[in-house]
Symmetry: D2
Subunit: 352 residues, 4 copies
């Protein structure tokens, strides 16, 4: 494959940005032309991240549209709110933009305003943006997309756990709980007490309890589209003392009691052609985060409890891959008509 | 305080047993007379657990009723099924018995048979046993108990999260989910692949998904007694890459929408005199497992989500203290008419 | 024991300060009168450290000599350089001062200037200060001390590993290497990339390699006093992905080849009356940091390699106890003529 | 590249074996024909290691020379002693053999007998075996090798730390200490108390202290060859609470005091053409294990301490890559005249 795509990364020196850089450097069709950064301008990337010694000679650059002019695609790995003003000129230049932040994920400007407490992007931009979850029926739209809103890590694992059940109409729309657990890299490299080793190690920590986490409306928007009726969810995030990995335990109420086999068949059919979803065949084993670490897979298992008539679904992803950088590359592959798994087949991650 | 109580520990060289030993050695009213063990007979305890060098001169002994004759109380820290035959002769000798296993927790022999797949204790023994959760209204019975069934770690954190809400009748009996997360010491010191460092570290692992974990009927039995109507729950356990700590996120449906303040007041009133329950006063902070590590506290926070009309409760305990050895000592204190916190006031655990 | 000693802590909200607070609250002879802090003035301590809920009602206060007037002893848990100006007025008030920082450890003002790159305390103050390592022959001086310089964590474990060998004159003065490994709490609660969870977890990290760490002259000063000849050492610190614990592997050259038994006997004799040193009796087991966690013990094992004529000594401490707060309380006990172990007998820490 | 090499793995279901399998599956010139195992015969590999779902359809097979007949190369990832009888028939069949165990590393049968306490391979086999450390001058021999003895993890990191200094004759032959620290995966997947999560987490643990670890003679043999005079070393291993990674702090005595620049230049020259060695250019940063995790790199930094006239060298590897499976593939590449880095360029491992 030829290196035909030139890419730039904004926010290249955060955990998501540097993972994008690492993966894109190995991508057979991509050259990373620019590593844009606010905090490390002028520094060679391997000085900031020594694991990349001899892997890249890029130097951190201050972003400017002029420098971006030689890029075909720009990846935005920025805090929310930061992409809103940067994107329109890039689109006007004819660039494709993949935003890994939250700025273009919600179709409703009011929802964005309410949950993020900052000014939303223009309504036209919000409408233009395509939600980048290929498995949720967006693949055709992604192929045409110029502005792609890459899903959040929690929404990716939550939506994929619920999708076949809502699509098949087998679960109640009002009884939908996502109990989610994430490793610390999801909180980024920014210094904060909640990411301090002494506070995190040997600790399990719920946060944003009570339905107040910003990923709630994103999940509801996607599930409402799939179920074709309004879905209200309960979402609770927790921090796990590990670096990578995100696990969701989803609780649904079955409309009628189905067998384990019947539900499994529904999931099997929904996901059989998906290259990045691995459905577990037995109820005895469940996805563990370590089994997807370093990969773009979402592992899923389904469990019917006949006592309670509930469907419980476990999903697991690497929050920096399928939950961020990996999914962004999957989307880029679709946008550029490349095979969807290009550059993402790494043979099973790293274990143990 | 004088050392008036002589205690023996069966299963002294497991993680629960050795924690009992450590705590009882510091207890002002207790002398540990015997450390009974199957696996390390004849070995000095500090050879097995070097952290106890100069803390104990006990030597592992093979259990026999004769050796136990000089004890006032026997603690059983054994795998399930093992206590059933050992206990009756001890009771006949006039000993008090505190069983930290599951053999006397369920009142229904059928339930025990069904969930544990082994022969239950006699019905009379099951009736005689007092469930040792003082906060759940059993304090008076514990004072009179000769056979005490110490609650499991998951049930302790789950029941304490639900108790005031069920007692006050504010939540639905059929909509009750406990998503529970435990550190690895809950699985004991026995060698197993699921406790192997390479498998556990950097991994989050659901298990027994689908309502099949044995602690389910124990929680239902206790909540049914509190609610005075049949309660069916959903319980899912997970393993967290940490040694100690157990956290429950409990989801309930409010019968009518109450304010955060109203629910907090109900919990406050229920627990205001409890020495080992700390109720969080704000919704912004939640119990983290590290904040109870090495203590007998159960930390609790309550969160009303007005969007979903759900009550979400977070509880956290140290699985080896309030979830096992600490609670056993709390029960022993009550059984021997000692102040309930004797030997358990250690000033806030160990942090960080 | 009566609560006869009133104590104040400066820097109470750092990891060392809060550990002092936790331990002193449990000390039978001490009342903590003030928790002084720069960063959290006006905040209840349990808001900053929730593990201390219901354990203390202290509120963070801005330090002033006036507030300190009701204290008998002040503990300084401050960054180096900060104690120098604060201490003299306190001494003039007749207070006892225990400094857990580096400001009074080195007798040579030039050495302090050279290694810490800041202005040293006055020569008279440096002479007045007593080095608080009781096991190293300072016990009598500590009893009389008004200004006590509490040793660093690395020096404590290093000096105790070397002391009997140098005192007995069995090892070469010029061939002395301390390879030291510490948990992250030694770096404090201050936010820094080196303490960020994503950087620390699953990582082992040497630092200050090449004989440039500031604890080097402190170790040399103590060993020179013990050996009564100039000792130059090699010291290399490393960070281990754990919170607490400090381990030293010390390499010495035996002047003449001694047997394992002979060397062990020398260490045995040197430490037989020391309440906080546990000497391992076999060469098959070695001190592990977890076995001293939460205790004031220093565990030590000695190993003669006849092939190389080297003596290798392993020592392990909890860096926040024997390496900081615990040792400070041990020193306070000596200064106030209390039994040396008062408030420090906690039955073997916390394991696992 | 065509898949021209057929490989078999003995001991495929241990941590080293499965890492070999994962890496070889991605290797452009290799097909893995057989995954031989004692413990999991008949089980699909992804049942044993779910991270390999959809990555391999291999099923665990009982080894037999007949089954191995279609292989070009056999990798032996077995406990020591197990390869000795298996290898000769394979060589007789014309297979190339790469042994990742210790059975063919030592040239002296007496040394093997002494350190491993079991019967050595025949003298002719020991002579035939080529030590597979390409950077140590064995590259030409490896090209011709039919039986390759892949170095141990500790020896790899230790020898590479010392090699340029001994080759240049700048350090004393009798003053050579390797203080080594390894993650737990080095101890394999076999259940053992030393690998139990509760024992390992939050613990740092020296072992085999006093010059008794079996890797000692392997290091001495290699360094003696390089230095062309007898080298006796001091080697001490330690366990770090992490899964992957191995770090060595090596202490040497400079024959004459050289500058930092001079020593760095010697290392630079020695390693400038080595594709898997990254020499750090400043003394301020040192190799950390996380920066080589998932890669075949050995990162090295050198530090001259002018006070002590010592050279201190830090080296870091991933014990399962450059310390085992990665180096084995590097050797296979050389043996099959492939570019040395084939299949081992993965873009910088996985970080954080």
């Amino acid at each position: 494959m030829m290196k035909v795509i030139k890419a730039g990364i904004l926010g290249a020196t955060g955990y998501t940005g540097i993972e994008l850089l690492r993966l894109l450097q190995q991508h057979p069709a991509v050259t990373v032309a620019h590593a844009f950064t606010e905090s490390h301008v002028g520094q060679p990337i391997p000085h900031i991240y020594p694991h990349l010694q001899q892997q890249t000679s890029l130097i951190g650059e201050q972003f400017s549209p002029t420098l971006a002019a030689d890029c075909d695609v720009l990846f935005m790995a920025l805090p929310h709110g930061h992409a809103i003003d940067i994107v329109p000129p890039l689109l006007a230049q004819g660039k494709k933009v993949i935003d890994l932040g939250a700025d273009f994920r919600l179709k409703s400007a009011d929802d964005y305003q309410h949950w993020y407490q900052t000014t939303p992007a223009s309504a036209s931009l919000l409408q233009q943006a395509v939600y980048g979850l290929p498995e949720a029926g967006y693949r055709a739209a992604i192929q045409q997309a110029t502005l792609l809103a890459n899903p959040g890590c929690y929404p990716t694992a939550s939506i994929l756990a619920a999708l076949p059940a809502f699509a098949a109409g087998i679960i109640s729309p009002s009884d939908c709980i996502f109990d989610a657990k994430s490793g610390l890299s999801g909180a980024g490299r920014k210094l904060a007490l909640q990411s301090h080793y002494g506070e995190v190690a040997e600790n399990f920590s719920p946060y944003q309890v009570g339905g107040i986490h910003r990923h709630t409306p994103e999940i509801e928007q996607a599930l409402t589209a799939i179920a074709q009726q309004p879905i209200t969810i309960q979402f609770t995030p927790h921090l796990v003392p590990m670096v990578r990995g995100l696990s969701v335990t989803a609780y649904f109420k079955l409309n009628t009691l189905l067998t384990q086999q019947a539900v499994h068949a529904i999931y099997q059919q929904a996901y059989q052609d998906e290259p990045f979803i691995r459905l577990y065949t037995t109820t005895h084993t469940n996805p563990q985060t370590k089994q997807v670490r370093g990969t773009n897979f979402c592992d899923i298992s389904v469990h019917v409890d006949t006592r309670t008539q509930r469907l419980i679904v476990i999903s697991a992803i690497d929050n920096l891959l399928k939950g961020a950088a990996g999914q962004a590359i999957q989307n880029m592959n679709i946008m550029f008509q490349l095979p969807e798994t290009t550059g993402l087949q790494n043979g099973g991650g790293i274990y143990p």
